[in-house]
Structures are given as structure tokens and as C-alpha cells.
């Protein structure tokens, strides 16, 4: 007799649940046992549209999910405003959690998530990251560790998409509402970039940030629909050992797209550029001549199926895994973002408290 497969519930049955969560669950070691959405009609339709087996239970709240037997893990795909309370409730019920990004709305919520992890030993929460997109992050981290770029002094993040706000694409309006989304593209996509950069640099500490935000592009929404997130965020942050990070994130810009991160060190640079033919390179100089080397690609991939395989291994053997952002890392990212938003609204540099 084979051991029963671990069970998972999918909470939040919107766009990303259908396009990324569900396709990854099917081939994974997990069996989908429940789907849940606060909108009951929606979750019923979801079950039907996705042709889920009759055994998959339909729930309209996490309480209902947690009352079911055989649920070992919960995959949270709701808007950010509910990430913290759903995750904490699931952890406290003894479940493992995979949760969409951004992890939460504020560092206060992230502290509460960290506390929930601590009081539930053996349980894990992983927030979705895109750290391993294109597969260069581990090699880049290794280059930094081995000192191949020398002392890193500057990092750059550039995420510019010309017309990719959710409102430009007819998506749900919560993406444009600070109370539900926490912020604009800086929260939504910026956190992916910060996660990858901080991972490569081994989670440096940040001391201060100067930021500016712009909101002002038309949304096409009715005037009654709240749209109060930034369209463009830019910042300059100072960290340990003189490290500086500059960043621009926008999903609405009248210029060509950019999608890159770079780390410059005293001996060389790492450039991860999605818009370039070579997506991951190391640059240095030999005798005054610039030399470029492709970064090796050796990563398992990034999708839901791999996350779930790693989670299953963790549940079976306690094997550590690093596919997502853990609670402490999410706190570091969230504190950083919070300070940046405060700097943008106060119009001055913000000193950061040490989140560690």
C-alpha cells in the first residue's frame, strides 16, 4: 500500500490560481483536496471551469478549509490584504503555507507572520519569489561569495513596463488600491526584484532610503473607483559597507521596457537583464579590456510544481529549501518597502530600523 499523498487547499480562485497554482499542483506530490474563495459563486465556477474532480471540496472561507481532514498545506492566492491573516490562521492550524507575493501590507503584519512561524515549529511558510527566473541567481550569489566582483558597492534594479498596469489590461481594481494591494508596481513586482537581489547579496542590512513616487497616469476607471498606488517609484538606499541600491519600478511609462538587475563591485559586475540576449553575465576587465562571461545556469526552475516537490521533501525529511522567500526574509523586504513609501510621502530620507 502506498502512503497517501499530502493534501493541499487552494485559497483564492482568481487569475493566478488558474494560471499558475493549479497547473503546478496537478503534477506535484500533492493532491488538491479543497478550493476556497470568499466569493462562493466564483469558487463553484472555478471548480467547474477547471474540471476539478468531485472529491475536491468547495469552501467559502479558510475556516471551512481548516475543518476538513487531510489538508497539510494551504496555497494562498488572494490579494495581499488577506495574506497575513490567512497565513497566520493556517500556520496556527498546523498547516504549511505557500503564499503569493507581496507577503503582506506592512512590516507589522510580517512581524506577526514571523511570530506565527516561531510558535509552530516544523511548519514552514514560503512566499512566492521569482529569484530563480532565468536561472542565474545561485551562480550570481556564488560569484559574490567568492569575491569575484570584489566589494559590492552598488546595485541597480530597473523594472519598466510601458503599459502593464492591471488597469491597463482590464484586471481587478484592487491592484490599484493601497489598502488592498499595499502599493503599486514597487510592491507587486519590486518585491520580486528586491528578493532576488537581497538573496544574491546574502541579505544585506539597509540603513536609509531616499525615495520618490509618482502617481498621475489616467486609469480609465470611473472616478468612483479608488486608484491610489504609485505609478512610478524610484529610490536610493544605503546599506552595509557603503553599498548603495538604486531602483525604478513602473508598469506605466512612456519609454522602452527595462527588466534588469545589476550589482557592481570593486572587481567586476553582475548583470541580469531580461531584455538582453545574454540574460546573465559577469563583467570584469583584464589589462584594461572589458571581458564578459556568461553566468552558468543551474537551477531547478521556479514554478509551482517545483515548489511543491520541495515542500513535500521538507515535510518528509526536513530538507531545507530556498525556492521562496521565508518569513524573516519577507520581513526584511517589507520593512525596506515601507521605509521607501514613507520617504516618498515625507519627501525626505528615512533611517531604517534594523529589522533583524
Amino acid at each position: 500500500m502506498t502512503a497517501p499523498r499530502p493534501g493541499i487547499a487552494l485559497v483564492g480562485c482568481g487569475a493566478i490560481a488558474a494560471s499558475a497554482h493549479l497547473p503546478g499542483i496537478h503534477p506535484s506530490p500533492f493532491e488538491l483536496r479543497a478550493v476556497c474563495d470568499m466569493d462562493r459563486a466564483r469558487v463553484e465556477r472555478f471548480k467547474q471551469d477547471q474540471k476539478l474532480p468531485g472529491s475536491v471540496r468547495v469552501c467559502a472561507s479558510l475556516d471551512e478549509v481548516l475543518a476538513l481532514p487531510g489538508i497539510d498545506a494551504v496555497s494562498v492566492a488572494t490579494p495581499p490584504a488577506s495574506h497575513a491573516f490567512l497565513s497566520i490562521q493556517a500556520l496556527d492550524a498546523g498547516k504549511h503555507v505557500l503564499c503569493e507575493k507581496p507577503s503582506a501590507l506592512s512590516s507589522r503584519e510580517n512581524w506577526a507572520i514571523c511570530a506565527a512561524v516561531e510558535r509552530n515549529p516544523g511548519r514552514t511558510i514560503q512566499f512566492f519569489s521569482s529569484r530563480f527566473r532565468n536561472g542565474h541567481a545561485r551562480a550570481a550569489r556564488q560569484y559574490v561569495r567568492e569575491g569575484r566582483i570584489g566589494r559590492p558597492y552598488r546595485a541597480e534594479i530597473q523594472f519598466w513596463l510601458p503599459a502593464a498596469r492591471t488597469c491597463d489590461r482590464g484586471g481587478p481594481p484592487w491592484f490599484g488600491q493601497k489598502a488592498l494591494a499595499g502599493g503599486g508596481p514597487f510592491m507587486d513586482m519590486g518585491q520580486y526584484f528586491l528578493d532576488r537581489l537581497f538573496y544574491i547579496l546574502d541579505w544585506p542590512r539597509w540603513h536609509s532610503v531616499s525615495a520618490q513616487a509618482f502617481t498621475g497616469f489616467p486609469t480609465g476607471y470611473d472616478a468612483k473607483v479608488v486608484y491610489d498606488v504609485e505609478d512610478h517609484m524610484s529610490l536610493f538606499a544605503r546599506g552595509d559597507d557603503g553599498l548603495v541600491l538604486t531602483l525604478d519600478t513602473t508598469a506605466r511609462v512612456n519609454q522602452h521596457w527595462r527588466w534588469s538587475s545589476a550589482i557592481h563591485g570593486s572587481e567586476g559586475s553582475l548583470v541580469l537583464d531580461n531584455t538582453a540576449e545574454k540574460k546573465g553575465v559577469f563583467l570584469t576587465d583584464r589589462d584594461g579590456v572589458t571581458v564578459e562571461e556568461d553566468l552558468p545556469v543551474h537551477e531547478p526552475g521556479q514554478d509551482m510544481q517545483v515548489r511543491l516537490e520541495q515542500l513535500a521533501a521538507f515535510m518528509a525529511t526536513g530538507a531545507p529549501f530556498e525556492l521562496g522567500t521565508d518569513a524573516r526574509q519577507a520581513l526584511a523586504i517589507s520593512s525596506f518597502c515601507e521605509a521607501a513609501y514613507r520617504s516618498a510621502s515625507d519627501g525626505t530620507e528615512i533611517e531604517m530600523e534594523d529589522a533583524a
Binding site: A163, T219, N254, T290
Partner: protein, 337 residues
Amino acid sequence: MNPTVKLGLAGCGGAFANDRAELAKDPAYGVSAVWDAEPAAAQAGAQAFPKAAACSSYAELLARADVDAVILTADASERAALACAALEAGKHVLCEGCGGRSPEEVDRILEAARANGKIAAFHAARLRLAGFTALARTYATPERLGRVYRVEAVLHRPARENSVPPEARAIFPDAGAYLLDQALDLLGWPKLEALTAQIVPHGATGEHACVYARLAGGIAFTLDVAASDRLRPRHALTILGDRGGLAIDHAKGGRGFSFIEEAPGMRAKLMESKPFFAFDPWGTSLRSFREAIESGKATEGTTPAQARELARWLALARASADQKREVRNLAETLAAV
């Protein structure tokens, strides 16, 4: 034709190399004397001009009766003192960059010019006067850009082209001043409210500086200049507004000029795109300097007030980089040391 302006050239480094060809072309100028702190450089510099003598000291150059005006491309750290000495010796001065590294240095130059009835002009407008900036100017209007909220000026060039001596590390004061001048001029010189900066030495002769500023009207401004063999060459100015955004990208393989505009359906639509084109670095500045000498007033290029403003940026950036914090007011910042 006899030259109308007889020149002494002080400094035979990288800027000099750029300017030499322009000077040789302009019949209104004649180079009488050349000086550099490095005698060999002075000798080599003088050879570029048929009638020029190599001077062994700056005093010797200033003492010459056949020098009406001095073009100063010496190290940024020495420029203000050398400019004042020239003005006091009764010569007009064209300073490379914004002349000084602080507004006080620029003030000293201007005061010396006033006291001696001579012209002090500044050549920070190298990029501003270029053809592609003229094209950008036709788009840099409130009608086309709407509300400007983000500006980025980047120049990463190889350190091997950074011919200033290592101790000068002049990428920031010089190239930085050109980029700033170009961007601020296109924007109509908005007020600098605060900035934060990092300036780090890079390799043997390089430097990498990054300035992030808050400008009046809610404009976030980045200036990023580097001389390094470990970075990809970049040279671009980007100005983003809520109606349109322009970019001048003249790195090798860059996009050239592009202007992208809001289009119906909240799309961004490419309106104009031009490949890279070369520019005339010095001609306009030299013409303008000559006009100023002849008429007492320059018509184009960096004005004294603009040179002073550029120098304020440079000094604030230096102070911010040293103090590792965002700074607002230069006097207060320096008093806090």
C-alpha cells in the same frame, strides 16, 4: 586672416585632446602658448599648433603679451585658482566644466572677472549644444511631455578613455557637469531641493558616482557617471512625463533618440525614433566665447549663474557622499562636519 583671439591653453589632458581639433579649425582663434603641469604634455600639446610655444610654467603663459585669453582644461581641483590668476593677469578665461567644484569657487572666478573687467565663461554645455539635444528640445515642452516626474542621466565610459591623471578622477566634476547641464537646461533649471550621493573610486583611474536628487515640481533625478572598464558603456538621458517620454541614448548600439507618447487606450506609442548621430562638441562654445570677448556678453552656453548652480550640485554631492546621507542645504551640510 589674422586670428582675432590669441589663446593660451592651460591643461593638455583629455579635454584638451577633444578641443584641439575644433581650435585648429576655427580661424578666429590662434593658439600662441600651451602649458601643462607635465612638461612633456605641454611640449606635445604645443606641437598640435604651428605657432604655439610650450611654456614651462603657468606664470610664463600668463606673462605673454600674445595671449588675450586662456582656455582652462587643467584639473578640476586647480581650475578656480588658475582662472582667478588668469583674470588678474588681464586675460579672458574659458573654463572647462563649470569652473569650480563649489559655488564659492565659481563666485571667486566671477568676482575676479568683474574686478579686472574680463570675461569668465564656462564650458559645461558640451552636450547641451549638441544637435541631438536640439532635437530633444523640440519635445521637451509641457505640451509634449506633460508633467515631468523622472529624469535619468547616465554615462559609463571605459576608464582607459579617462585620460585625467588618477589623482584627479575627474569623471564626476567634468562629465557629470556636462550631463547635468544638458538635463537641467532641457528642464528649464528646476530648483534642486535635496540630494543623496555615492562617489567611489573604481579601478586604477576610474570613478563611479551616483547622485539621486529631489527637484522642485516632484521630479526625481538620477545622475550616474562612471569611468570603468568593468561596466558596459552607456550614455543616455531619459526624461519621463505623464504625456510623453524622451530618451537620447548614444552609447554604441544604443537606440539613438526616441520619443514615446500616450496614445488612446492608455498605450505608449513610439512617435519618433532616430539612430545615433555625431555631435559638434566645442564649436558653439568657442563661437560664443569669442562673441562674449567682442561684445561683453555670451549668447549661448552655460551662464555664470548656471555654472554656479552646477558647482552647487557637485559640492552637495561630494558632501552627501562623504557624510553618507541626504543633504539639502550646502552651508548647513558643511557646517555639520
